[in-house]
Subunit: 137 residues, 6 copies
Amino acid sequence: MSKKIAVFRKEHFNAAHRIFNPSWDDKKNAAVFGKCSNPNYHGHNYELIVKVVGEPDPETGYVIDMKVLSVITREEVLEKFDHKNLNLDTTHFSDLIPTAENIVTVIYELLRKRIDPKLELQVRLYETERNFVEYPA
Amino acid sequence: MSKKIAVFRKEHFNAAHRIFNPSWDDKKNAAVFGKCSNPNYHGHNYELIVKVVGEPDPETGYVIDMKVLSVITREEVLEKFDHKNLNLDTTHFSDLIPTAENIVTVIYELLRKRIDPKLELQVRLYETERNFVEYPA
Amino acid sequence: MSKKIAVFRKEHFNAAHRIFNPSWDDKKNAAVFGKCSNPNYHGHNYELIVKVVGEPDPETGYVIDMKVLSVITREEVLEKFDHKNLNLDTTHFSDLIPTAENIVTVIYELLRKRIDPKLELQVRLYETERNFVEYPA
Amino acid sequence: MSKKIAVFRKEHFNAAHRIFNPSWDDKKNAAVFGKCSNPNYHGHNYELIVKVVGEPDPETGYVIDMKVLSVITREEVLEKFDHKNLNLDTTHFSDLIPTAENIVTVIYELLRKRIDPKLELQVRLYETERNFVEYPA
Amino acid sequence: MSKKIAVFRKEHFNAAHRIFNPSWDDKKNAAVFGKCSNPNYHGHNYELIVKVVGEPDPETGYVIDMKVLSVITREEVLEKFDHKNLNLDTTHFSDLIPTAENIVTVIYELLRKRIDPKLELQVRLYETERNFVEYPA
Amino acid sequence: MSKKIAVFRKEHFNAAHRIFNPSWDDKKNAAVFGKCSNPNYHGHNYELIVKVVGEPDPETGYVIDMKVLSVITREEVLEKFDHKNLNLDTTHFSDLIPTAENIVTVIYELLRKRIDPKLELQVRLYETERNFVEYPA
């Protein structure tokens, strides 16, 4: 059996967003997205769980140092998104609707380039306690 | 890598049940199931997490609209089981012991026929915070 | 300022119940209590928080030994109500509707006679994560 | 001893806001409020706990019907604030900074006029899991 | 009615401790405190909730700036106790048994001298999810 | 599709530990492990989730009796580690750094020999709410 272990680090950020497809008119956006498309935005306390899989280093007993994983997540995700308007204050969602599905994919790509390629990565994002997503599935 | 994303929706319902095998006498039921077999029933706040896996629609950014997933879950699960006695008030457990394992399988089948076949489905059911099950494993 | 400290111990039990006023007919019970009055019962994972207030003993540093408080709660509450039908399996609700308000009052009285009179007592009962009660207020 | 019992009902809503004092310039707002003053807003999943204190009705065993309390909270709070921008989409914060302290006071006043005057009312509002407020103290 | 509002800030720290009365022999310590008196220590993830009560400042809408309250708590509590052995690494418990009751009193005194005297202070400390204390009661 | 169902049982224990590599000097330990290497130890409330996968027994509806799974976990894990110093009071970490990664692997091996080989096993261990691990990945 594989000796691989998964380690998980939880972080959070608060952001505003609006679910809005710019190629549709306001009426269609309202019909499809309902109150989530409110023109003046609404917001969430996003909870983020970063999962990294690999074999522990025999000298440290760590798959990855959680402190390092926390720093990477802060630099790549929290500094970009915390207390921001995802539609207006970031470049990542200028051409991409900030649904939970698209946010989690963007976060995965931001973290992937900072995590050692020999380690597997998966990201879970809670938009609310009742609605959450995971990538890759 | 697959572009598949998992989306999760959490719902809950309250129900009474009794763990009881009708082909056994009361003594054997008590010996095997203990206080869970109390003839006058006991109950739980069941927490349900429905997981749906697929690729997001490019127009909406959704794998499945969470509002739609919530409505399907209410119609197929909550309207049938919420504030009910699983042994007496439903047809699903007339020939099936309402263990968490069997309840989660029944819920999976009820939801499966309402979810687009191209989407994968998995269901997690918490009987208490400390005891929970998932199907398929 | 008072040197009084509050200590809290959390326990839980699972039970079935039905909200039903026997002096009313079924129609009025259904009209007032809705699905909570389902004749075949429903159930909950009740979470109980027992609060005891007093001055810590200088020799032990304890207001009350949490292990002792846990044992008292098990003997007075869990052994009577866990995995039971509150309407049928207990004497406490033969003349009292098992609403959260009435259950918490009964639990308070059961614990009050076991806790040193010089200590104050308050009980909080969660019927669900969203509905809970506290006595005395 | 008083026979008063407290009942609690938890609800939630998602909203955007900005902490901003219009009598100050942007520089002072940024100095005092930091990233909470981001001009394009940020947001939260607000959790609301409404506490009502009184004596239970002997016929129903209820201090207040939780279903009624939930409806009042939805009508007075959720319909006004859920998926809204508190600064732009409501009249309540046109002259009032939407800090958690001010939001909880506004919610208290909205609910107070709908709850029977013989019942006491207190409101707790979670802005995040780590920051929350209660009124009256 | 008072215009006072309570604000709460949650922090956490991890520490080792041993419940031990040095004026007793090991046998009596073991008899009274059980496994909590293990000579080689055990530990907890302590969750701390600091409650401050006062009237909001009309210019900021804040009773106390949560960021400031967080900094004070870090300086007075986390820097002293986080990842420490309460019995060996601190001066506060050299003559005081580190029960939850005594820890919460020490934390209260550390914070009290840093919080404006016109504001009321109360501290809640979770030793585990099931055992917690509050001071003053 | 497989008829396999996963069942989960959550338990917890409190322990002290120190992250320390005995082949390094104190300076290198401090540089690599930071405050986690404090010589006098610190501690955690460890939360453990044991996952067992298999097909339910047609007579009981159980994959494994949760009461049995709880007893096995208590005997193999809690009796060995609860209220202990992992470095000093156990043999399992005399030659192994008690990182979360190594603790979860040790717990897996302890449970594996007690669980029927036809059942799959996976263990998740929370060191804090924000840091957790899973084995096998």
